[in-house]
Amino acid sequence: MAKKPIEPFLWGLFSAGGVVAALLIPVHLFLFGLAFPLGWLTPPGYESLRALASHPLARIYLFVLCSFSLFHWAHRFRYTLYDGLQIKHLNEVITVFCYGGALAGTAAAGYLLWGLR
């Protein structure tokens, strides 16, 4: 019985993350990273933003956005380093750093979003 390869799953996760990142990050980064700080648009007030973000659906949305995007980064960055550094013995280090980082980020996201009530 051949060991089931994990790569298809990791690639699937990378793809899902890629879709999520492509669809959602531009508008978020544009609003909170550029438009609001530069005064192009009026940002929502603290109370209303908090109310919006603490809605259960919003928290699930943010969790998916953060987690999937992180796994997208992990997979892509791992291959970039692998092709870029071309060093076999660093392969395990790279893998642990990337997916471990994504897992840690996912855990952090879960913790922070749970605490947002």
Binding site: L23, I25, V27, F30, Y46, L65, W73, T80, G105
Partner: protein, 143 residues
């Protein structure tokens, strides 16, 4: 005189020429513009991770109260962050465009035996992007 370690060793070795193998440079991606564009596309994942970090910091600030959030907003006006955000935004846009343009190559949809043209698949992704972005923006701005 031994063959270069590849499969399919020639059966006769009375005279075997010395093959020349060129080492691929670590900077192979700098030698062609197309390779560089590819590496930049792959590196767009770093601004993606940066955005997630920023968002989690923002969520944390939101949890901590109005003063913490006001501090966060002030940080965002700092030139260093504005620059980082602008560069990241460009990279994220690059990711979005390359992703939607390449998606049809992986997704083959056949209707009545014929393949749906690639621009329709890419187009529907762009359309979804516009609709979803507008919805998210509306939700945030109206609050």
């Amino acid at each position: 005189m031994k063959p270069g370690g590849l499969s399919g060793t020639p059966s006769h070795t009375a005279y075997h020429p010395r093959w020349y193998r060129e080492r691929v440079s670590t900077y192979w991606w700098l030698w062609k513009w197309r390779y560089l564009k590819f590496v930049l596309r792959e590196l767009s994942s770093v601004p993606v991770a940066y955005f997630v970090t920023l968002t989690l910091v923002q969520v944390h600030a939101l949890s901590d109260g109005p003063q913490a959030y006001a501090d966060f907003q002030r940080w965002m006006t700092h030139p260093v962050f504005l620059t980082l955000n602008a560069i990241s935004f460009l990279f994220v846009l690059f990711h979005t465009v390359t992703w939607f343009n390449l998606a049809p190559r992986a997704i083959v949809v056949r209707l009545r035996g014929k393949r749906v043209p690639e621009f329709l698949i890419a187009g529907s992704n762009y359309a979804a992007w516009l609709v979803i972005s507008a919805a998210v923006a509306w939700l945030i701005l109206r609050s």
